[in-house]
Symmetry: C2
Subunit: 112 residues, 2 copies
């Protein structure tokens, strides 16, 4: 077995951790909006990528990676994104939290 | 509807983002080890909490929150934790990545 350490991105960069609990029954056009947001965020200069997971019936965590604060600001001020954030509070989420954090180091493992 | 902004923890604090892809069939004593790690990490001074999600058959994301670098170091050097990390590379994971990040701000929403 070959263990290869690797860095996901070259630090420093930012991670925006978004954890959420979906509202029961509050589905609406969630899937459509999520797909549109994925399309939009990729256009932000300095967007590096994202990872997402959701336990069925439980917590969802999405982590977006950005080169710097400026890139995060561009995304957070995006007009379409703001409309969807509002819709999220009104319809889709029972709760969420956002942590904006500067990554100091990263490492990982991939099976060879 | 009552929207309440809140901070998860008082910054600055650290988030350790652990994303992983499980190995097919590589179950072993994973559940037991995960429960033991949860028990152990709670004993670390400066451990603030964690959140975890896994898409069935897909990505898992666990975010641990710690008061400072020292608390992260205590956890990463824990002997039992190191044995389980090794077991993770040998048996449970196809890949994982770790991002250690200093949280600069946090906010959230809870349905009233």
């Amino acid at each position: 077995m070959d263990i290869k350490p690797f860095a996901a991105h070259e630090p420093p960069y930012y991670a925006v951790v978004f954890t959420s609990v979906r509202r029961e029954g509050g589905v609406g056009e969630y899937g459509e909006a999520a797909a549109r947001m994925e399309e939009l965020v990729k256009e932000v200069p300095g967007f590096l990528g994202y990872e997402s997971a959701r336990t069925p019936g439980g917590l969802g965590i999405t982590v977006g990676y950005f080169r710097d604060e400026e890139a995060i600001g561009v995304w957070q001020r995006n007009a379409e994104h703001r409309v969807v954030q509002q819709q999220g509070r009104e319809e889709w989420y029972d709760s969420y939290s956002v942590h904006v954090a500067k990554v100091e180091r990263s490492y990982g493992f991939e099976r060879g």
